[in-house]
């Protein structure tokens, strides 16, 4: 067993690293894109922007991530989009995440009491300031748990990138399994890794939640 760890250790570490990297980039990319989609939908022309975004969200939510990834990676070159596996994987994750994140943000923004926005407009605050200083912090109370939850779901979607040969942790453990015919150890390593990974994110998420809700919990 030690010999196996010695042999595959470096590859596994690369795998861990790549899984973390794709998750971070995919989540950040998805959040940023999701935020822009929501802003476009909220403040842009309803027909020319609202409708295509809705179709996009429905497509992403209506098909498996694996299929979307194949479309991007193998179908992309047909329209001149030739990407390596890693960038294709990160882009795929971002596009996938954006559809869910934008829906969470929409519900969050909708839940901001209209009067609080009117008070900001009445005082003369510009729209951008209202979004950043009032709407985002207010909606985080309700939206943050859902955002963190989906970020956790995304950790597990990263394994699908192994299907387009991104050498992340799933890819490495599969290689290990097929070369050694050992199953218990690789699966155990994989499980432990994800368990720790998700645990760290949830802790961080709870910290963030406390930050945004502290004023509701204040002692008098």
């Amino acid at each position: 067993m030690l010999e196996m760890l010695h042999r595959y250790g470096p590859d596994l570490l690369t795998g861990f690293g790549l899984t973390l990297l794709t998750w971070v980039l995919g989540t950040v990319g998805g959040l940023v894109l999701g935020f822009f989609l929501e802003m476009a939908r909220r403040f842009g022309p309803r027909f020319w922007i609202g409708w295509p975004i809705r179709a996009y969200v429905e497509f992403i939510r209506g098909t498996p991530f694996l299929v979307q990834l194949f479309v991007l990676y193998y179908g992309g070159p047909l329209i001149g989009l030739r990407l390596d596996a890693l960038p294709a994987g990160v882009l795929g994750l971002s596009l996938y995440g954006a559809a869910y994140f934008t829906e969470i943000l929409r519900a969050g923004f909708d839940a901001v009491p209209k009067g609080q926005i009117e008070a900001a407009r009445a005082i003369g605050l510009p729209g951008r300031t209202i979004v950043w200083r009032i709407m985002l912090p207010v909606m985080m109370v309700s939206a943050l748990p859902a955002l963190v939850n989906f970020a956790i779901i995304l950790t597990k979607e990263t394994v699908i990138l192994s299907m387009i040969t991104v050498p992340e942790i799933m890819f490495q453990t599969q290689t290990m399994m097929s070369e050694t015919f050992a199953f218990v150890l690789p699966i155990l390593i994989l499980a432990l890794f994800f368990w720790g990974f998700v645990e760290v994110i949830s802790r961080f998420g709870r910290r963030l939640e406390r930050r945004f809700t502290h004023y509701l919990l204040e002692e008098s």
Binding site: G115, A119, I123, P137, Y215, S220
Partner: protein
């Protein structure tokens, strides 16, 4: 952006033949009304008569469909009467001269009382943090809440929240203040503290437009009372004329209904 006001003389407001529709429903019918500077004008009338809509046209939170609304002589909302919308920047510039206080207070829950008041000073008036904080403290002191500056709205009573909301508006040094039923969401014992602050503002010569069901306040503090019904301006005059000698039949029955519900009042 720095919109530091040079002088804070009270402003007047002028509505000319203002109409407002919600779809087919006409909420304001040909309203013509002058709000004199430095005076208190109370808007009364049954619920749904268009009082809030009228008030909100004055700072263009509600877009009127035709007519003119002017602050002093500056048209608000449109570049020319019936013309195209004015730029967001010019509208914001006009709005920071117009304070507004809402029935539901509408404080920002994630900010302390002090931050609520300082926000506009920093981000609209363009004051430095220290100066904004100092001026926000002055405004809170003025409404009697100097000791509550660190509280979030959830840790303030309704009356205190409304006073913070008033402080948030007056800190901007507006030239006219709009109040939309500022005491209607308050427990009866908290109404007095808010009205007291409003009386003080009136005494200082602020132009005030107050939508209210507090007939006592309208009778004793207002310089002018305006009665609305079904989107129409039905009667306007000095409080004495309106309350003691109502000539209009609809006004008389509105007042009678009010007196029957509050059998002890005025």
């Amino acid at each position: 952006m720095s919109l530091e006001p040079t002088a804070t003389s009270p402003a007047s407001a002028h509505l000319r033949a203002v109409n407002k529709f919600y779809g087919d429903f006409q909420a304001l019918k040909d309203i013509t009304l002058d709000i004199p500077p430095g005076k208190v004008t109370c808007l009364i009338g049954p619920s749904g008569s268009g009082k809030s809509t009228l008030l909100r046209c004055i700072n263009f939170l509600e877009e009127y469909d035709s007519g003119e609304v002017r602050i002093d002589d500056r048209l608000i909302g449109y570049e020319t009467p019936g013309g195209k919308r004015m730029s967001g920047r010019r509208l914001r510039e006009m709005r920071c001269d117009i304070g507004m206080v809402f029935q539901q207070f509408n404080l920002w829950p994630h900010m302390t009382a002090l931050q609520n008041v300082a926000e506009g000073l920093e981000r609209v008036r363009g004051l430095k943090r220290a100066e904004a904080t100092a001026r926000a403290r002055e405004a809170l002191a003025k409404v009697g809440l100097a000791d509550k500056e660190a509280n979030h709205p959830s840790r303030l009573s309704g009356g205190q929240q409304q006073r913070v909301a008033i402080a948030r508006a007056i800190a901007m040094q507006p030239r006219i203040m709009l109040f939309d039923e500022p005491t209607s969401a308050l427990d009866p014992e908290l109404v007095g503290e808010v009205l007291a602050v409003m009386k003080q503002l009136a005494a200082e010569g602020m132009t005030m437009v107050v939508v209210t069901h507090e007939m006592g306040f309208a009778a004793h503090v207002a310089d002018r009372v305006v009665f609305m019904e079904r989107g129409e301006l039905v009667a306007a005059g000095a409080p004495r004329e309106i309350f003691q000698h109502p000539t209009d039949q609809r006004l008389a029955s509105f007042l009678q209904g009010y007196r029957e519900r509050n059998s002890l009042d005025f």
